[in-house]
């Protein structure tokens, strides 16, 4: 067996063991260890991605000594390797961009604990991406929830603890539903490995056996995962959790945690239930409608918000709605658009959170729009980065958000019956996005005479500025090289089945 095939297993293990190691190191060393581990995993995933693209087919890695129906497995294809690499990039940038703020907000004795959580989070995300076993996926969903809760409450005040409790309540309901779904699915198929379940499900459907339990399974898993990634009616926990936690955590939660769950849902659709069976169940229509509703209501809530962090958080609800709309279209094109929007939203939302913190820092720490007036002049790099993120979210050409909107529209045109709702809601949502993001950009670029707040120059915050520049480059790269990336996504989706 070639060495490169060990990469998925080693990346999960490396990330997981970096956690306990960081817990006994002093803060500064832990930070270096953590950054090194994320970088190594990123490079390894890039190597794996190259190998898979050249080789043209996915592979299965046996965990332990027992073959397929009994043992545990890891599976890697183009989409998995690409996602792992992308998650590592965003994770590294989010942690580095918010590091200064983290050190201000958290007592020094707890600095190293943050890297424990980041390591656990990364390993659970990688495991969700790579695993081929449903019960392993459930266990890592729980690990993900626990580390996300820690990330929210590491900045300890009343707000974050309350947000963490609300997050935990919704998440635990979601994971219990997923677990029940997995149990019922195990009972009717007798398997836990995704590929074996899929074969059994096909036999069950063609024989017309157990239609109701199967529908329950599909509904339980979809709704459970939708609750965990804050699809519209289940988003009540989101604004507090994203709005008050430390900025790195907000960036990681909004751009990675929800994406890990959506990726698991896409894997379940393709590799467990089967795309056609999933499409013929009514659940996909529910996801579609919730997605459309989320696009509107998330944006409306964002417009009404007078707090920049909470506004960006509500914008996440709308963007998750976009992704579920893409999944709900029930076509390959819709799915490609949804996955591209996952990448686009991940890179843009973390950019917005990280740049917003630079703006609030030069406005006396206030997150209200009044004091933020003119902050784009006081911290130029953060202002430019925020403007880029806002333009990308609205869907201006050259940036990634434009491509995802274009892909959604293209996917909708081929669709009978759903074309009109998609195009109308896409239009309305774009206008609403433009209202609140442009309002903010105009606000931060409104000049004020003799402002009492200090100016921050790029040279004073070199790491922060570098992170923002890389984010902007990443965003433009996604926008410019979109053909290449959608090509990779389509290849990856074909490898799924």
């Amino acid at each position: 067996m070639e060495m490169v095939r060990n990469i998925p297993f080693f990346s999960i293990m490396l990330a997981m063991f970096s956690g306990p190691v960081c817990s006994v190191l002093p803060g500064k060393v832990a930070r270096k260890v953590n950054a090194a581990v994320i970088t190594v995993v990123m490079i390894m995933s890039a190597v794996l991605l190259r190998y898979l693209v050249i080789n043209g087919e996915s592979f299965v890695y046996m965990m332990g000594h027992f073959p397929a129906p009994w043992g545990n497995e890891i599976r890697a294809g183009v989409l998995e390797a690409g996602m792992a690499m992308f998650f590592c990039i965003i994770m590294l940038l989010s942690v580095s961009g918010g590091i200064k703020k983290l050190y201000d907000e958290v007592v020094e004795s707890k600095h190293n604990l943050y890297y424990v959580l980041v390591g656990l989070m990364l390993s659970s995300l990688l495991a969700l991406v790579y695993t081929n076993d449903l019960f392993t996926a459930y266990v890592f969903v729980e690990i993900n929830t626990i580390s996300a809760c820690g990330l929210i409450m590491i900045r300890e005040n009343g707000r974050t603890i309350e947000a963490a409790v609300r997050y935990m309540i919704m998440s635990l309901i979601g994971s219990a539903m997923i677990l029940l779904g997995i149990c019922v699915l195990y009972d009717i198929t007798g398997h836990l490995l995704m590929s074996n379940i899929k074969e059994s499900v096909e036999v069950l459907v063609s024989g017309g056996r157990y239609p109701e339990p199967l529908l329950c399974v599909v509904a339980l898993m979809s709704v459970g995962l939708a609750i965990k990634c804050a699809l519209f009616p289940f988003h009540a926990w989101l604004p507090d959790a994203y709005g008050y936690s430390t900025v790195s955590s907000a960036a990681i939660l909004s751009s990675l945690v929800s994406k890990g769950y959506i990726f698991l849902l896409i894997k379940i659709i393709y590799r467990v239930i089967g795309f056609d069976i999933y499409r013929n169940s009514g659940v996909i229509d529910v996801l579609f409608i919730f997605g459309l509703a989320g696009m509107i209501f998330g944006s409306v809530s964002a417009i009404r918000e007078n707090d920049i962090r909470r506004m960006i958080a509500y914008s996440s609800v709308a963007q998750i709605g976009y992704i579920f709309m893409g999944i709900g279209m029930g076509t390959q094109f819709g799915m490609v658009a949804a996955i591209f929007h996952m990448l686009s939203h991940a890179s843009t939302k973390s950019l917005l959170f990280i740049s917003a913190i630079g703006l609030t820092d030069v406005s006396d720490g206030s997150r209200k729009f009044g004091p933020l007036t003119g902050s784009g002049y006081r911290n130029r790099i953060a202002g430019i980065a925020f403007a880029v993120g806002a333009l990308s979210m609205v869907g201006v050409p050259l940036f990634s958000g434009f491509i995802s909107k274009l892909l959604f529209a293209e996917a909708a045109v081929n669709l009978t019956g759903r074309m009109l709702p998609v195009l109308i809601v896409l239009g309305i949502s774009t206008i609403l996005n433009a209202i609140y993001f442009m309002k903010t950009v105009i606000r931060i670029y409104t000049p004020v005479d003799d402002s009492p707040y200090p100016h921050v120059h790029m040279r004073q915050v070199p790491l922060y500025a570098a992170v923002l520049v890389v984010f902007v480059i990443l965003n433009v790269t996604l926008g410019v090289m979109s053909d290449f990336i959608t090509g990779l996504i389509s290849t990856g989706l074909e490898m799924f089945s």
Partner: protein, 124 residues
């Protein structure tokens, strides 16, 4: 519907327990009651799983007297899954309890709605 329910009364019980736990976790205001609801909900899933692994008239999957036929034993995997699940639910319960202690120390109450109201008043 009726005969199925009585024949599978244990599974029906598990589902009723799941609903009770679910409603408690979602609707109770008191944090400790919420955690109790969470544990009822998780236990019901384990009950369901354990039931599905048991086959009447068969024995534990430990080979004695050289009987290796699979017909003689029950399926051991659900038991393993239940154990894993219990470990997970213990850890999330511990986490929830620690969060509850922190909130109680700050606000001297276990009522989540009251805590939210006080937070809004503080305007943090």
């Amino acid at each position: 519907m009726g005969p199925y329910l009585t024949a599978n009364y244990a599974e029906a019980t598990a589902m009723i327990m799941f609903t009770i736990g679910f409603a408690n976790l979602l609707l109770q205001k008191n944090l400790i009651k919420k955690i109790i609801g969470l544990n009822i909900m998780d236990s019901s899933v384990y009950l369901f799983l354990a039931l599905k692994g048991y086959i009447t008239g068969r024995t534990v999957p430990i080979v004695v007297d050289g009987v290796t036929s699979t017909e003689a034993y029950i399926n051991p995997i659900p038991a393993g899954l239940v154990l894993t699940g219990i470990v997970v639910s213990v850890s999330v319960s511990a986490l929830m309890l620690s969060l509850t202690i922190r909130l109680y120390r700050r606000y001297q109450t276990l009522n989540l709605d009251e805590i939210s109201m006080r937070l809004k008043k503080e305007g943090l």
